[in-house]
């Protein structure tokens, strides 16, 4: 089978804003830089599928700086070599195994939506908020469909506005955080004009869409496996809203698989880094939503700092110049995370027979029965988290429901993604660049 091996000074994993910025800055600081992404095109979740002048500028800058971009490469294993001075990443590309050896690694794997289970969430028509947005970007017809957007976070009004401009009939945005917190956050927004403008610019599209705070979906109603309505609750009041789609997301959780596999420390649910964005593992840097949720600007700044810092002393001087900007963005991010913290009421949504792991059809009652409870015991006895998504969906939701640390629910062992057996078999072969002798007798 085809096998490719590459080497560089700085390897950046993740081609979203943080990763692109990191690769640019490393390459501009005279480092041989490789940028890997699992998608064929760069951009990450936020820049996906739309012509965006900011994205184009950054991607052009990376090309000009000489960054070697490898798209369609799914990193399924990463390890520190015995000398602790090099890191080896193993990826599967459409052509086969591709390994990259580097002196320093910058992880910028971003975040994903957290989904919480509630009765009926497996009905057809219930999707992730960002998930539905991605479907529509890909051409899914939404015009004239009734949509409820629910969950938590600044993504919800953005998704609602996006769907509305694509012709959806958005019935309601249900934000679980109470008004009191949102108002405090809003006051903070006034201190950040750029962000406030961004939020305000959504409002024209949202005219006529009720935005309810302190409100969440408690149940869904369906016919023949498809969603027809949801029940929402706000304080003591509950009512039913007819809809074709429920787009749900309960904030974002970082994709911690790579940092945990490399032994990077995790603190409060995010990869812990020092002022240079360097993790507890020397030579391994983390940038963007791995280290905290705070939006595009924050990811770009962190990526630049990581890229410069990974380039050595000279780069570090340029990195230092960005510290003040990062500090401001951290204040914003902290307010944001406080405002949208998940309320305990959400822990009671799933009933005994609600499916909590969709890959393996594990139900809440099965998990409640396990004593002593832990992610590992839950996996062993209910198979939750053992399916193709490797716990990426149910891990964060069970972490919230049962109070397990998020890093304890991270499946941090290779393969991090399903990988063809022939690719896996190729990892142990002795000499990477040698063609396998055919007909070798064992």
């Amino acid at each position: 089978m085809h096998k490719q091996s590459l080497a560089c000074d700085v390897l950046v994993i993740g081609g979203g804003p943080a990763g692109i910025a990191a690769a640019c800055c490393a390459a501009e600081s005279a480092q041989r830089a490789i940028l890997l992404d699992d998608n064929p095109a760069l951009g990450g979740q936020i820049w996906r599928g739309k012509a965006n002048s900011q994205a184009t500028r950054w991607i052009d800058r990376a090309r000009q700086a000489g960054v070697q971009i490898v798209g369609g490469a799914q990193v399924f294993a990463v390890s520190a070599r015995e000398d602790r001075r090099t890191v080896l990443a193993q990826t599967e590309t459409p052509e086969g195994l591709c390994t990259v050896q580097c002196e320093r690694a910058i992880l910028a794997t971003g975040a994903r939506e957290r989904f919480l289970p509630f009765p009926g969430w497996t009905l057809r028509g219930v999707t992730g908020a960002g998930g539905l947005q991605a479907l529509v970007k890909g051409g899914w017809p939404i015009a004239g469909k009734r949509v409820v957007v629910a969950g938590s976070g600044p993504l919800l009004p953005a998704v609602a506005a996006f769907l509305k401009t694509h012709g959806a009939d958005v019935q309601l945005v249900a934000e679980q955080a109470p008004w009191s917190r949102l108002v405090n956050f809003g006051m903070g927004l006034a201190l950040r004009p750029a962000v406030a403008m961004q939020a305000l610019s959504l409002f024209p599209q949202l005219v006529g869409v009720p935005y309810h705070a302190g409100c969440h979906v408690t149940a869904t109603h369906g016919a023949r496996g498809a969603l027809t309505a949801v029940t929402v609750r706000q304080g003591e009041r509950t009512w039913q809203v007819d809809c074709d789609y429920l787009a749900c997301g309960f904030n974002l959780v970082p994709n911690l698989e790579l940092p945990v596999l490399l032994g990077c420390a995790v603190q409060d649910g995010f990869a812990a880094v020092n002022e240079w964005q360097e993790s507890s593992q020397p030579g391994v840097y983390c940038a963007g939503e791995l280290t905290g949720i705070g939006g595009l600007e924050r990811s770009l700044i962190e990526g630049q700092i990581a890229g410069y810092a990974a380039a050595g002393e000279k780069g570090r001087q340029r990195a230092r110049a960005l510290f003040a900007q990062r500090r401001d963005l951290y204040t914003y991010a902290a307010r944001l995370n406080h405002a949208f913290a998940l309320g305990d009421a959400l822990k009671t949504l799933a009933s005994a027979d609600t499916i909590v792991c969709r890959c393996e059809d594990a139900r809440r009652a099965q998990l409640d029965e396990i004593a002593p409870g832990s992610w590992r015991a839950a996996k062993l006895h209910t198979r939750c988290g053992m399916g193709a998504c490797q716990g990426r969906v149910c891990g964060p939701s069970l972490s919230f429901l049962y109070g397990w640390p998020i890093e304890a629910t991270v499946s941090a062992r290779p393969p991090l993604f399903p990988v063809r057996l022939e690719t896996l078999a190729a990892t142990g072969q002795q000499e990477p660049n040698q063609h396998e002798t055919t007909g070798e007798k064992r």
């Binding site: 393996e360 832990s374 062993l380 393969p415 063809r420 057996l421 142990g428 064992r442």
Partner: protein
Amino acid sequence: MAESVYDVAIIGAGIVGAACADEAAAAGLRVAVIERGPIGGGATAAGMGHIVCMDDSEAQFALTHYSRTLWTQLAPQLPADVEYTACGTLWVAADDEEMAEVLRKAAYYSARDVQTTVLDAGQLAQAEPNLRTGLPGALLVHDDAVIYPPCAARFLLERAQARGATLCIGEVAAIDAGATLVASVALTNGRTIAAATVVNATGAWAPELTPGLQVRRRKGHLVITDRYPGFVRHQLVELGYLKSAHRVSADSVAFNIQPRTTGQVLIGSSRQFGDEGTGVNEAILNRMLARASEYMPGLAGLSALRIWTGFRAATPDKLALIGPCPGRERLYLATGHEGLGITTSLGTAKLLVDQLTGRKPAIPFEPYLPGRVTAKEAAHG
């Protein structure tokens, strides 16, 4: 402070400890089970869950056959999550020499009332269409089965608890099982559990609690795929497995794959001494997958979901240790099952409780007595 005195305190709630607890409780003994982690979280979780009749030696045959019969009897009571499936084992021959072994094995089993069928090349291809062409045949052992071991361990433990056994969660600091009237187990959380007899059923970790035991960790790797229902229909094992598994020193791999009820394919196997890390060894993984693909070329294109490793508790003569620990009269052992702990857990539990209660055993227990293997440093504490 010591709590009430149990008849037997079993350390380890893997499938062997759970089965022993269930059997002891059924016999009317007052039982405590001590476990530090999830139920069935050690080799029980790492193993394949193959219920198999083996014929390496008469003693191995006796225990595996007896145990398999016990599994067949238990099967109707097992909950669905144990996934008991009597898919049978196909011992696959790669050449004429191995086909001769098929016939020898068939004769051996027939003489001992084990139902088998010899398949020729055509029948084998029909039974398992994804095997490579040109294989001369195989031996089908009908009543071998597959289970999901963690849930089996949990079923046995919960049945033991329903019969009065107590589960204590905690890590053992020390066992005191000398010539005193009562043995005791001290936990790191400060608890002490007193019992007439203590049973070390901690698998490959047994020597940590009982220094000097001739039990070594033999590492294995397994890979599980996404769901491909019908891709494999029987537990498939190469006959060369006998050659490789017998080798006590060198690292070895064998074609050994299993259909799960989920439609997933479980791919083994590897055996290594001296690698104490839990990480994946890429070189041996490569050999293992290459071996599997030689027999089943279509595997190469399947999607692998997970890889894991585990440690078998290996003894020098490849037989389990079931019975009193020499020099420590209140300590019994139920370990050293190597790759057969899932199969022989039920037989082990019977033989252990036979010895504890003086019951008449269904098969002789002498071949498995720990005293046959001289402990290097007996009589600690």
